[in-house]
Amino acid sequence: MAATKGFFTDTTLCIGCKACEVACKQWNQLPDDGFLFTGMSYDNTVHLGSSTWRHVAFIERPAPLHPQSEEAFSWLFSSDVCKHCARAGCLESCPTGAIIRNEFGAVYVQPDVCNGCGYCIVNCPFGVINRSEDDGRAWKCTLCYDRLKEDLIPACAKACPTESIQFGDLETLRTNAQARVEKLHTQGMPDAYLYGEDAASQPGTEGLHAFFLLLDKPEVYNLPPDPVVPTKKVKAAWISMAAGAAAIAAAALTSVFFDRGNGHDRSHLL
C-alpha cells in the first residue's frame, strides 16, 4: 500500500482566486451548478456538493487581522474540500460497500456500485457528500484517484498559485503544518492553529487526511467545532432497539395469553 496521502490547506495563503474550484471542475468534468448570484461576498459556489468538490469560502470579517492591519475589517479565504476522515461517516454508513478507503488512504465512492440510497449524505458531519440529480449517485472529492495512479498530484493542488493547498504524504504535511503554525506565532499571528490534523486534535473523526490552518473559530469557516462520526454515538440507539424489540415481544405475549376478547378461549372445545 502506498503511503497515506492528503491535503494541508493553509488558509493564510489563500487569495480567493478559485483556481482550485476551476481546476477540479475541469479535470473531473463536473457539471456547472447553475449561475446564481448569492450576494454573499464573492462566494457564488456556497457549499460543497455532488458537483462541487472544492469550495472557496469568502469571509468578510469585521475584525482586524494583526499584524497586517489595525482596521476593523479583514478578509479570510479558505478552500474547503472533503476531509477524507480517518473514521469516515459516509464510509461506515454505506450499505452497499460502494464507499471504500483506497491505497492512498483516501475515502473513495465507487460509481459502479453506488445505488444512490442517500444514507452517506446525512452521515457526513461536514456536509460534504451529496447525490447528483443527474444520475442519482453520490459524489464527492476522489483526491484525484486517477491522477494519483499516474503519479500526478490532485488538480486543485496543482493549480493553486500560492501553495495554500499542499498535497503530499500525510506525515510530512503534519510536520510542515506544525512548523508553519509556529512560524506564524513568532510573526505576530498567535491565533493561527491547525484544524483536524490528527486524532488527538479531533478525536471524533480520529483525524482528517485533509486538514486546515485557520485563524478564527471553525464556525466562521462553516466547519464544525467538534465533529463526531455518527457510529461513535450510536451504541445507545442499538440498546434502545433491543429494548424496543423486547417490549413488542412482551406486549405480544401478554396480549395473546391474557386477551380481553372472550376471556380464556373456549373455541378449542367446540
Binding site: S93, I121, V122, C124
Partner: protein, 291 residues
C-alpha cells in the same frame, strides 16, 4: 458570547429522501409488529388465535413487499437495489435493515405458505413463523437506529428513545388497523391490549425524547417550531385523541393518522435541523441555551 456562522448557510447536507422513506417507517413498523404478534399467537391453538396468526402474516408479507417497493422507489439508482445485500456491514444500520427486511419477507412468506401444511413442511412453516417474529421485531425498531445514526443534530440527540418510540408506534398502528378494518371481535380483543400499550408508550416516549433532544435548546427546536413542530404536536394530539373516542373506526383512524404523522414529523425535524448550522455548532460546543 459570539455565535458565528457562515452567512447562516447550512453546515450539513439535508436528506434527499422523499415521502417514501417516512411512509416506509410506518409500513415496515406495521408489518414488523404484525409478525411479532403472529409468532406469539402461534403458541395458542384456539381458532381465534389461528385466524389472527393468518391475518397478521398477510399484513407482514404484504407490508414487507410494500416496504421493499418504497425503498427501491426512493433509490437514486433503483436497478441496483440488490447491491444492498452485497456486503454485511454492522456499522451501517441501513445495511442491517436490508438484511432484516429480506429476512422478514422470506420467512413470513414461508410461514404463510407452509403454515397450514401438516408434517415436515408444517414444522418448517412453524419455524418460519417464529423466525419471522424475530425479524419483525427488528424491522419495527431498526429504523430508529437508522435515523439516529446520522450527523443530523436532532436525530442524533434522539438516539436513546427513537427506536423505542418507533417500536411503540408500530404496535399502536397495528392496533389501530385492527380497530378500523377487522370485523372479527375475538381477534380485535386479542390485539386490543397490544395496541393500547403501544399508544401509551408512543405518547410517553415522544415526550421524553423531545426533552432529551432539547437539552441543547437549539437541537430540540424542530420539535417546537415550524412545520416539523406542527406535525409533531399534531401526531401527539391525534394519538392521544384515539384513547378518548368511543367509535372503534374513529379510534383506528386517529391512531393510524397519529402514527403516520409521527414518522413524517421525525423526518421533517431532521431536515429543519440540517438546515440550522447553529444546531450542530451548539451541540458540539455543548452549549445548553442559545445566546
Amino acid at each position: 458570547m459570539t455565535d458565528p456562522t457562515y452567512y447562516d448557510r447550512p453546515l450539513l447536507q439535508e436528506s434527499v429522501w422523499t415521502w417514501a422513506i417516512p411512509a416506509y417507517y410506518f409500513v415496515g413498523g406495521l408489518a414488523g409488529s404484525a409478525l411479532v404478534l403472529a409468532a406469539a399467537a402461534q403458541l395458542r391453538k384456539s381458532r381465534a388465535h389461528q385466524r389472527l396468526v393468518r391475518r397478521c402474516r398477510w399484513i407482514g408479507v404484504i407490508g414487507a413487499g410494500v416496504s421493499a417497493g418504497l425503498l427501491i422507489y426512493d433509490l437514486g439508482r433503483p436497478a441496483r437495489f440488490l447491491n444492498m445485500l452485497r456486503v454485511f456491514r454492522p456499522t451501517s444500520p441501513m445495511n442491517m435493515g436490508a438484511w432484516i427486511l429480506a429476512g422478514a419477507g422470506a420467512t413470513s412468506t414461508g410461514a404463510l405458505l407452509l403454515g397450514t401444511r401438516s408434517g415436515l413442511l408444517g414444522r418448517l412453516g412453524e419455524a418460519c413463523g417464529y423466525t419471522a417474529g424475530i425479524f419483525g421485531a427488528g424491522l419495527a425498531t431498526y429504523t430508529g437506529v437508522l435515523v439516529a445514526n446520522t450527523a443530523v443534530p436532532v436525530w442524533q440527540e434522539s438516539r436513546r428513545l427513537l427506536p423505542v418510540l418507533f417500536a411503540a408506534s408500530a404496535m399502536s398502528s397495528l392496533g389501530s388497523v385492527f380497530e378500523m378494518c377487522v370485523e372479527d371481535a375475538e381477534e380485535r380483543g386479542i390485539v386490543k391490549t397490544f395496541g393500547t400499550v403501544g399508544i401509551a408508550a408512543e405518547l410517553a416516549a415522544g415526550i421524553v425524547m423531545e426533552k432529551q433532544a432539547s437539552s441543547v435548546a437549539r437541537v430540540g427546536r424542530p420539535f417546537r417550531h415550524g412545520f416539523s413542530g406542527l406535525l409533531w404536536r399534531s401526531a401527539q394530539i391525534l394519538t392521544a385523541a384515539s384513547l378518548l373516542v368511543r367509535n372503534r373506526r374513529a379510534v383506528g383512524a386517529l391512531g393510524i393518522a397519529g402514527s403516520l404523522l409521527l414518522r413524517f414529523a421525525v423526518e421533517r425535524a431532521g431536515t429543519a435541523s440540517a438546515r440550522d448550522p447553529r444546531a450542530s455548532f451548539h451541540l458540539e460546543r455543548d452549549r445548553a441555551t442559545s445566546p
